[in-house]
Amino acid sequence: MSVSAPLSRGTLIGIAVVIVILLALPFVVEPYQTVLLSYGLVFAIAALGFNLLLGYTGLLSFGHSAYFGTGAYAVAFIVKYLKIESMEAFVVGGILASAVVAAVFGFVCVRYTRIFFGILTLALSQVLWSLAFKFFWVTGGTDGLRVPTPTLLGGAVRMPAGAAGDKQDFLSHRYYYYVLALFLICVAVMWVIVHSPFGKALQAIRDNETRAEFVGVQVRHYRWVAFLISGAFTGLAGALWVPLNGLTTPDILHWQFSGEMVFFTVLGGFQTFLGPVVGAIVFNYLKTFAVGYTVYWQMLLGVVLVVLVLVLPSGIVGTVNRLGPRLRREPAA
């Protein structure tokens, strides 16, 4: 994970090609596929935030469902109590709410590392889950809270009223582009963060906490800031997810969803910048396929995880990065 390597020409061309494909997709595939990809992009934003802690700071959180869920519930509360249906308000509200929760939880958690950190994050996320579960007069309990299709860009883009099937069309085109735009912004911002002096300090903490302290990095403070940023990214993902889903329930705050974030980050490769992004999108397809294929889908995903850890410990992108140069050197048959 060198921070010194600039983007090569080949990488830039590759990025441009991927963006063009993503832009053209709604005109090529079924609306359902586009909505599915929107989910993948949303999870990818969460993965970017999650990996700032795991890949760059060396902290494994088992409680990131808390920030995703906070983002989602913040949107639901904005609708329920403020009667606002603007996506921009959802985004700002989701980010602010999750940042506040992450700031408080992070203040407690970053005092510890390794298993103690993981257990604390898990425990705190379960506190939020139980609150959402029990305070049903506020949160709707297990019924959750419904979120209508939002207006976009200050009301300039909205779902036409009345016509049947419009919601699917809205989500697979206009809302998809909205998610895609925010996804690209998040990738760019996170790329700058991890390549900034601050990002270097985080990597130093990950590699050698004691030495980082002795070059003047205030380890606990920097961990806290990383935690806060990570929570904010994950909260944004939660805010973007809930209009797609139309409903938020306590399930999204449960530790099982935190486990899924760990899963897709490991699947893609947490030691690479784009690994968690790829992992989130692949995981989303994998889970959708598994759920449709068998009622034992969790077992299927479990087997995939075991095989992944044993065969591809560096994840999909890590393995491609490792094997790519080797394959290019192979003589043509």
């Binding site: 060198s2 921070v3 700058v192 390549h195 270097k200 990597q203 030495r211």
Partner: protein
């Protein structure tokens, strides 16, 4: 004029008196060696002064200011830096990034979130210049984890040096390297330290290194200072000979 003074500095680990009421003085600009057998208290003394562990009692004065309770961060800001006995580097960062991080930290730039580190030409150039001083410029883009032990030792010192310290503690800078490599490493360190006008305290077991590079030597034994003097005075000190040099086979 002393840059550092400890007064009755004490650290116990259970019943072990690791550092026992030590009065230790370092004059500004000097290069001194701290010697002693394993368990004599050398590294504990440096750990106390640098802030890695807290003292049980006593005082640490840096440029006449009491820094006994100061944090590591505050001590670094005052100008105290150190390297480590077991090399402590950022193995997944490149050699130049290891030094650059120290420079960013020194200049208060590690708080910058939305600026690319590589676009800071001043830091990059200074990092490369420091690597050149330490003979590591050819390894600038190599991951620190991929360097040889001798190179890692030099980089460890270079990272501490990049903080532009007034007082630099070097904990066994030649341990774990071959006998052939020791002199070149010490030549580089000695040259950089002297040209930078840095006060240096070197913990070292190799008496040839100590006698060659350090005009003043402080010998420790069982948590206390046993002797303090020039290389000749230390060589001829009977207590040192009996407790340290004799057991280390140095003639």
């Amino acid at each position: 004029m002393s840059i550092l003074r400890t007064e009755k500095l004490t650290k116990y680990f259970g019943d072990t008196h690791a550092v026992d009421h030590v009065n230790f003085t370092v004059a500004e600009g000097e290069v001194l060696a701290l010697i002693g057998s394993n368990g004599a208290g050398k590294t504990t003394l440096v750990n106390l002064i640098s802030g890695l562990i807290p003292a049980d009692s006593g005082a640490i004065l840096f440029q006449d200011a009491d820094i006994t309770s100061a944090s590591v961060h505050e001590k670094i800001e005052l100008g105290i830096a150190r390297s480590f006995q077991l090399v402590n580097l950022f193995d997944q960062l490149t050699t130049v990034d290891n030094v650059a991080l120290a420079l960013f930290s020194r200049d208060g730039k590690t708080r910058k979130l939305l600026a690319l580190a590589d676009s800071d030409a001043a830091v990059r150039d200074e990092a490369l210049a420091i690597l050149k001083q330490f003979g590591l410029d050819g390894r600038a883009r190599t991951m620190a984890g991929g360097l040889s032990q001798g190179e890692r030792k030099l980089l460890d010192v270079a990272v501490a040096y990049a903080l532009r310290p007034k007082l630099l503690f070097l904990d066994e800078p030649t341990s774990g390297v071959s006998t052939r490599e020791k002199a070149p490493i010490m030549d580089i360190i000695s040259s950089v330290v002297r040209s930078g006008g840095i006060t240096a305290v070197i913990i070292e077991h190799d008496m040839d290194v100590v006698f060659t590079y350090c005009p003043r030597i402080v010998a420790m034994h069982q948590g206390a200072i046993l002797a303090d003097g020039t290389p000749d005075q230390i060589r001829n000190n009977e207590q040192v000979t009996a407790n340290l040099l004799g057991t280390q086979g140095h003639s």
